[in-house]
Symmetry: C2
């Protein structure tokens, strides 16, 4: 059974709703907000290291991209959002912070699915202490299963839209919890690997890295995007191509990437050990490369590095 | 271009949140509610005729069924919910009311997809005046298109779960609005007809009725369910079987069913007229049968009929 992150009862947390600062208990939104009624919203999760937002521009660009795929117009500029994020972070006063930015299509004019009647966006920014993840995830790797829940088809709602419709992933993570494992990897209609409930998946075979292409129906992770560039810069070949469950289980190494968890080795899938059943050398090497990149992007720029 | 229901600026409306009554402006929910964060909620839309809730028990049963498919446990009894609905209706004081009942998985303990950390349900009941639908829908029928948006696959998130994840339908209705038509009918991965963005679809061919089976990936509509029984009782054969787009376009008659709209004739699909391009005799007959049923279930029981 994998270690699960503990609930902290008095988590320090600040919410900025459309420019007003709230504490946890006061932070409320209209029940007529389309984000609440239909999950008609887009969001991003970013973070800071040493007080410096990490790749925030990339996250804002993806937020805009998600919105455009839903034809959800954003009445804020990116600068305004950065300003509101910084206000919330200043109020929080933590060096390592989690940042959630949600933009909804706004409040309903009438109760109708039809977005024509929506009013202007609501902006909700939640910042909190980014507590460290369990060390065991990185030292021992995590166990996962292949989900029975299929990834939502791109033609229905493209998983590349980071939206308020997350039940597909909730169903997958419930399967994982039932089996006492870290996460569940979903397949697409064709039976190919897509991603975990909140992370992209990768495998190493020989000296090459493989990760599913966007056409498999996945979110274009920002850690994924960065790691593709970093791997290439370190002469590691990365192929974006479809992966079958068999290929994944028979890979030398498997790992997840995500913003808040970075690179997490996967050492077991459906009771089969991956490689030697412990984090592999390629994964360890990539963790080092990615840590260095984070350092360059944050500590160094703060004048502390 | 079909008539679209108008926005009423000062709609009379009452909200009951976990037993407390609010007006529109005050009705708010925590931004940490999983309904807002992930669309992790289930809901129903019911209505009253002449002050009497219509088929409320059927709606509550479906609400419970949706919740069970999401493994979302409900801490309320059905009687408690009926009591809170009645309190909201009494406050509203309208004969013909719209009733929306939303149950969310509750507020987050921490920000995590994992529902293990959810606290107890939030219950939101919205009641408002059920304004009459445009007469033209029933007299002239409505025009629709076949959507490019595919219906979410049952293996991903079963469309038979009436949940807070409604972007799939929002994308479909946006296609319809763009073309200036009433609605868009979605196909499943196999290319068969499923349903409209908020209504079940039916066709008449000869003396028989056909509507897609649950296995096509649809919501089991309560109007659909009642009409299947009523048609049988009136010696009209109903087949629940897969329908291809071609079969639908070449049907004698086509119509939608939904709780708030009842039976709506469809007279054009993708610019092709259905039958004679006007509501057909079978549809008109079913509208009469259904009206009689509503009357029996409501007016008669109130002692007015």
């Amino acid at each position: 059974m994998n270690e699960i992150k503990k609930v902290e009862k008095d988590e320090k947390l600040i919410v900025n709703i459309c420019g007003e600062i709230f504490n946890r208990k006061e932070a409320k939104i209209s029940v007529f907000d389309r984000g609440f009624l239909y999950g008609d919203s887009v969001y991003e999760v970013a973070r800071t290291y040493n007080g410096i937002p990490f790749l925030l521009q990339e996250h804002l660009d993806r937020l805009w991209h998600s919105a455009s795929l839903l034809n959800l117009s954003i009445n804020y500029t990116q600068d305004e959002i950065v300003h509101q994020v910084n206000r919330a972070l200043a109020e929080l006063g933590e060096e390592n912070a989690y940042i959630r930015i949600i933009i909804t299509r706004g409040e309903e004019g009438i109760l109708s699915l039809d977005p024509t009647f929506a009013k202007s966006n609501n902006l909700v920014i939640i910042v909190k202490d980014q507590t460290p993840n369990p060390k065991s995830w990185y030292q021992d790797g995590v166990k996962v299963i292949l989900a029975k829940t299929q990834r939502t088809n791109r033609m229905a709602v493209d998983p590349n839209i980071k939206s308020g419709n997350y039940l597909n992933s909730v169903l997958a993570i419930m399967e994982a919890r039932k089996e006492g494992v870290y996460d569940a990897i979903m397949l697409n209609v064709l039976g190919n690997i897509t991603e975990g409930s909140h992370s992209n998946i990768w495998m190493a075979k020989g000296k090459n890295l493989v990760t599913p292409p966007l056409t498999a129906g996945i979110l274009e992770g920002i850690t994924r995007k960065m790691l593709i560039q970093l791997a290439k810069g370190n002469n590691i070949q990365v192929d974006q191509k479809d992966i079958t469950p068999n290929e994944l289980i028979n890979a030398d190494e498997v790992f997840f990437t995500s913003t808040t968890r970075e690179i997490v080795p996967v050492t077991q899938i459906d009771n089969s050990p991956i490689g030697l059943g412990q984090p592999g050398n390629m994964t360890k090497e990539l963790i080092k490369i990615y840590s260095k990149f984070i350092h360059q992007q944050t500590v160094d720029q703060s004048g502390n590095g």
